[in-house]
Every structure is written in C-alpha cells, then in structure tokens.
C-alpha cells in the first residue's frame, strides 16, 4: 500500500467525486439510472434502512403487546400478521441483502482496486429486482391481507390460510433473484478484477468474507426460490406437493426451506465478520493476527454451514440418524467461528488501540456475538434443543447473533466508512453514547428471553401466562431504550453525512485500498490504477516481528 501514489489533498474533495452528477442527468434520475457501484450502494442503503425502520416499528409494536398478559393491544390475527411481516421484512429485505449489497457494493471494487463490479448493469438490475420484490411483498398489505404464517411459511398452514401468502411469497422469490445476481456479480468481480499484485492472500478480509457469502448466495438461494415457487403453484393450482392429504410430506418442505434458510444465516453473519477484521486491524494499528486462519474460516463456515440445516427440525420428526448427523455437524460449525473470535482478540495484543466509535462497536459485537454463539451451542445439543426450540430462547439466540452480531457491526461499519463515503465526519461523542444506550437496551430486551425460553415460554404467542409478566416487562422497557439509541445514532449519522466537518482521505489510518483514494471517491475510484505490493494490513509505523 505504501507504493500507492496518493494525490495531495485538495480543498474541495467533492469535485469529481461520485456524488457529482455526470452526463447532464439531474436529480433522482442521475441516481436510479446510474450503474456506478457506489451510487447503487447508496441506493441500497436508503432502501434497506427504510425497511429496517419498518421492521423496528413492527418489533416495537410486538413488544408492546407483551406489556401485560392477555394481549389487549392487537387482535390475534393482527398480532400473527405483524410478527410475520416483522420477520419477512427484517430477514428478506434487511439482513440477507444487508451488508453485501450496501457496503459490499460500495467497497468491494475499491478494496480490490477495480473501477466497478464485473457487471455494472446487472448490479443496477439487482437493485430494481429488490425494490420490485419488496413492493410486491408489501402489496399483500392491501390486497389479500398480510400473511399470518410466520416468515418460515411452513406447510400445510401456509397452503390453507386465506391471507395473502401467494403474493408475499412471490415477492420474496423476486428478492431472491436479486440476491443471486448480486452473488454471481461479486464472485466474478473478485475472480477477474483484482488490481495488479492483489493475489488471493493479499485481499482484505472483508473481501474474503464477501467471497464466501457470495458462494452461499449462489448455492443456497435457488433452493429457496424453487421452494417458494412450489408454495405459489400449490396455492394457485391446488397441487398436493406438500400436503399430507395428497401423500406429500410437510417435513420435506422444511428440509427444502432450511437448506436455504440456514445458510442464509451465514449470508447475514459472514460479511459482519469480515468488517470486524477490518476495523480491528485499523484501530489497533497493527496487522491482523492469523490472516489466513480468518480467511479460511470464512470459507469453512460457508461450507459447513451448508450441512447443518436439519438442526431446525429436531422435533419435526426426522429420523434419529439424521438428528445425530445434524447435531454433530452443528457443533463443528462452531469451531471456525471460535477461531475467528480468538484471532480477533489476539489481534489486539500489543496493538496501539484507539477506541474510536467503530472499534467500540466491535467490542459490543464481541460481547453480543459470543452470547449469541454460545447459546447456539445449547441449541445445537439434542437434549436441550428439544426443550428450548420454538421458545423465546431461540428468539433471544438469533437476535443476539443477527441483530447483536450482524446489525451492530453494520452500524459500526457505517461509522467506519461514512467519512470515506461522504468525506464528512459525524459527532463521535454522540456516536459512542448512542452505542452505550443501544447496548444496554439490547441486553434488557433480549436477555430476559433466554430465561423465559428456558421456563417454557413459546414464541409467536400474542399472550402469555402471568408468571412471565416481570420478565416481559423488562424486555418491553429494553426495546424502548434500544430504539432511543437507534434514533440518536441515525440522526447523528445522517447529519454527519450531510453537514459534518470535512475529513481527509484517511481519518483512521486504515491500510486497505479504499483509504488511498479521495473521500468521497471519484467516479472511477482511483486516479491512477493501484498496484499492490504489501499485505492488506501493513502498518508502516508498527514494529514488525
């Protein structure tokens, strides 16, 4: 990286940047018809966080219902529809596209020294598919009524309910194609467009994570696509593919569904893991510990993660042999995640740690992700899983992983890269306090769910037994604290991106390629084609050992 020709910083960084419209286009058309990966990344950011807000509002309402036993706020039908929509919006419209389509789109080409992704027009098409798909999903709101099946669309219930399952499922199907196209675009980009000198083991770890993620997207999403298509066809034509009455097997639906939807969890968590490595390397001012181990464990997680879907079905009546195999493989998938965590901690050893907001997010991530991951072991074990599955324990577990792990790092990554994307800085103090507030709110919200789950509180209930009242109320209050923090964080970020003070090209002292280009980056990303000679996290000033 030291070899890079870094142009002297100019006063007006915005000039010539991707934020400046080209080709005489103005206003919104300059954005929605642009094939620039950076602009598409921003388009995705806007779309994703709009849906995230919808999901958060739904989540708050779901919690509010739990303020007292007996469910007085919503009718059962309304509650069932709300948790379905919360799941569908959060899973399919927010966390699965998540980091890859937003920050991945923006930074993958820059981090490998390319001008754009391999297929820029396909990239824009993916965004349109995503938007169309989500509009189709939301159409269900006004057409046949919201689906009330849960985001898993389990048969035979999803075939029998009269709500708008068909339309919502079809929307998810379209969004799935957007995901597939993004995956193949990224894979081709990483294979073909790396800058001269950027060998596989000189790639930043975020790129490695995106590479593993893209494979999962390519390999797993089509299975979901066909499964959802089968639901649509079954409902429209009355085919008995999954209905027991016609001799179909509902458990087979669960197999097909989880063949995709378990690997989807790794689509959600691998990119954040990549970002954790980036942030740690930058703020410890030293190279990452065990680069190859971290890179390879991403691939290992993608690979083993593909073999463990059956652990969602231990009480569905699989054969004991299948229970044995899936439980065994589930424990194996914990190992590469553990390796990553140990390497991250070791990367802090003898660093020169500057705990700026992005690094604080990593620390919060470490706590929440470890709780989430370790509680996952409890669920992977057959004896305890039978007791805990489909209770609040599971709800707590996956919120710790996906929200506490994945989404917190999404926020952390926004704090990390916002100065690069807009050339401006947010208020760091407010950012840190917002995080502290969110961290407390998060734990208040979800930790009681572990306890309630163990005590036998099933999920997807619009009411509960009186003995859970205290815990439920703590959890409800936690949700308010969390949301307060979220609002502060977003206001701070949005204000920072528009009005914040200008910063230089490399405010954090990062070493990967994106820090060598102006902030915000120019249309072509680099003024001169970069040539890579160093490993990605080479800090000149650090002592080498």
């Amino acid at each position: 990286m030291a070899e890079l020709a870094i142009p002297p910083q100019e006063e007006s960084v915005v000039e010539g940047s991707y934020l400046e419209n080209l080709n005489g286009r103005k206003g919104i058309t300059a954005w929605i018809f642009s094939t620039d990966h950076k602009r598409i990344g921003i388009l995705y950011l806007i779309a994703l966080f709009s849906f995230f807000s919808v999901g958060v509002i739904l989540g708050i309402l779901l919690r509010l219902e739990m303020l007292s036993p007996g469910g007085k706020l919503f009718s059962p039908q309304a509650y069932n529809a709300l948790f379905t929509l919360h799941g569908v919006v959060m899973i399919f419209l927010f966390v699965i596209p998540g980091i890859p389509v937003t920050l991945g789109n923006f930074f993958l080409p820059i981090q490998i020294g390319a001008k754009d992704v391999a297929f820029p027009r396909l990239n824009l098409l993916s965004w349109y598919l995503y938007v169309i798909g989500s509009i189709v999903i939301l159409t269900a709101l006004f057409w046949r009524g919201l689906p009330d099946t849960g985001w898993t669309f389990y048969v035979p219930y999803s075939l029998r309910t009269t709500t708008g399952v068909t339309i919502a499922v079809f929307g998810v199907f379209i969004v799935g194609f957007s995901s597939i196209l993004t995956g193949l675009n990224f894979l081709t980009t990483i294979h073909r467009l790396r800058a001269p000198g950027m060998t596989w083991f000189k790639m930043p770890l975020f790129v490695w994570a995106l590479y593993a993620t893209a494979w999962v997207q390519i390999i797993a999403t089509p299975v979901l696509a066909i499964t959802l298509l089968l639901i649509v066809i079954s409902r429209v034509f009355g085919l008995g593919i999954f209905s027991a009455a016609a001799g179909g097997d509902p458990v087979l639906y669960q197999h097909l569904f989880w063949i995709y939807s378990h690997p989807a969890v790794y689509i959600m968590i691998l990119p954040p893991m990549g970002i954790v490595s980036e942030i740690i390397a930058t703020f410890t001012h030293r190279t990452i510990f065990g680069y190859k181990a971290i890179a390879m464990s991403s691939l290992a997680i993608a690979f083993i993660g593909y073999l463990v879907w059956g652990h969602h079905m231990f009480v569905a009546g699989m054969s004991q042999q299948a229970d044995f195999i899936f439980s065994f493989l589930t424990f194996l998938v914990a190992i590469p995640s553990g390796i990553k965590v140990f390497n991250w901690v070791a990367s802090m050893y003898k660093g020169s740690i500057d705990p700026q907001p992005p690094f604080l997010y990593v620390m919060a991530f470490m706590v929440l992700f470890c709780i989430g991951g370790l509680s996952g072991l409890v669920l992977g074990s057959l004896a305890t899983d039978v007791h805990l599955t489909a209770t609040y324990f599971v709800v707590a577990h996956f919120h710790y992983i996906i929200f506490g792990g994945g989404v917190f790092i999404f926020f952390g990554a926004l704090h990390y890269w916002l100065p690069k994307m807009f050339g401006r800085m947010y208020n760091k103090k407010i950012a840190s306090w917002a995080l502290v507030d969110m961290f407390m709110g998060f734990n208040l919200l979800y930790f009681p769910m572990f306890v309630m789950g163990y005590e036998g509180m099933p999920r997807r209930y619009f009411t509960y037994l009186p003995q859970f009242e205290t815990m439920q109320r703590i959890s409800v209050v936690g949700s308010w604290i969390l949301v307060a923090g979220l609002i502060v964080m977003f206001v701070n970020l949005i204000h920072g991106s528009m009005k914040g003070p200008r910063v230089g090209n490399n405010p954090w002292g990062g070493t990967t390629l994106e820090w060598s280009t102006p902030s915000p980056p120019p249309h072509e990303n680099f003024e001169t084609e970069p040539v890579v000679t160093q490993e990605p996290y080479y800090h000149e000033e650090a002592l080498t050992k």
Binding site: L184, T188, L193, R194, P196, I218, L230, I241, G247, G248
Partner: protein
C-alpha cells in the same frame, strides 16, 4: 454505455492490450448463473427422488402412462438443437456469419418444435384426464397424483426455460445479423449457448425419470 461494460481484467493484463473485453469474465458469470439454475432444478429432483422412494410402486405404474414416444422424439430434438447451437458458435468463430445464422435459426426452430411437441403431449394427457386433481387420477393410489404433479411441474419449469432460451437465442440472432456478435467478439453467443446446453442437460435427466419406467 456499452452493452456489458466490463472494466478490463487487470490480471490478464500482461499479455493483452488495454481495454480488452473480459470474455472469461462473461463466461464465468454465465457459469455461475448456470449453477444456480442447476440447484433450482435440483430442489425438484430432490422432491422427486424422495417421493419416488416413498411411492416406488405407484411411481412405476404412473410412469407407464406417460408417452415414451413423445419423450424420445423430444430428447432427439433437443440434442440436435444443442448440436446446431455448438455449430453456430463454431461458424462465427471462423467468421462465417451466415452459416452461423443458419445454424442458430435451426436451433431456435428446434427449440420451438420441442415446445410444440410438448404442447401436443400435454394436450393428449389432459384430454385423457391425466392432470393433478383429475377424477381419473383420484381413483388411483395417491402416489399417482404426486407423480403427475411432479411431471407437470418439472417439465413445465423446463419448458419455461426452453421458452426463455428461445427468446435469448432470437436476440443473439439479431445481434449476429446486425454485426454486434462477430468473429472477434463471439462471447455473448457463447454464453447463450452455455444456457441452451444446460437446458439440454436438465432434459437429459428428466427423460429417464418420467418416460423410461415401463
């Protein structure tokens, strides 16, 4: 803005002039897409195998009801279309534009022919009262209906791919005629060819599973 804008492949930069179209990149994208298609169908194949395992006897009996003749003819039609597809690419690579056009047109005609035969086959079956939920099938044991549900689903999905494939090939035909696909830049035709061959491969597996069980 060009059709598929691909920043140059810097890796291959050492023995290539600047601003070269990354043909391997286009093919790679296509191959990855084919993998997703393969996995899309594999979900169906998985369903088929499990149900065949559950209802071995019923599937066997139901398989007797399909028309082996239609299936065999269609297999041959599709295999021949694959040949003409490959020949069309070989022709464009030798710069023989009109020969390539001829071969590609035959591919499209054969593809459409496949669909026509498929249509005739389905019509015959539906006229015979063989379709999911039909009174005739409901008299049989329940594996029967599953077999035909799978049959219509899988051949239907495959037929849809043939239709889309024909659309793509017609576009390619126009490109060749207009000189957008040439001896020097045949990659889009090659990519379309890959897609067409995959459709062929899927059929190669559908054929024994639905037609050869007598």
């Amino acid at each position: 803005m060009s059709d598929i804008t691909i920043p140059e492949a810097r890796q291959a930069a050492e023995h290539a002039p600047a601003h070269k179209k990354d043909t391997q990149g286009v093919k790679m994208g296509m191959w990855l897409f084919l993998m997703t298609e393969l996995l899309l169908f594999s979900g169906m194949f998985l369903l088929y195998s499990v149900y065949r395992y559950y209802y071995t006897k019923e599937f066997h009996q139901a398989g007797m009801e399909t028309h082996t003749m239609f299936g065999t003819v269609n297999t041959m039609v599709l295999l021949t279309s694959s040949l003409t597809m490959a020949l069309s690419i070989a022709a464009i690579e030798r710069g023989k534009k009109w020969l390539s056009v001829t071969f590609l047109s035959s591919t499209i005609v054969l593809g459409l022919g496949f669909l026509v035969i498929k249509y005739a086959e389905w019509s015959t079956e539906i006229a015979d009262g063989i379709y999911p939920g039909s009174p005739k099938l409901l008299q049989h044991p329940r594996g029967f209906e599953l077999f035909f549900a799978m049959y219509y689903l899988m051949t239907g999905l495959h037929g849809l791919h043939v239709l889309v494939g024909c659309g793509i090939l017609i576009t390619m035909l126009i490109f060749i005629i207009r000189g957008k696909i040439t001896q020097d830049d045949p990659v889009r035709l090659e990519a379309a060819g890959l897609y067409w061959h995959l459709i062929d491969i899927v059929w190669i597996f559908l054929f024994p599973l639905f037609y050869l069980v007598n």
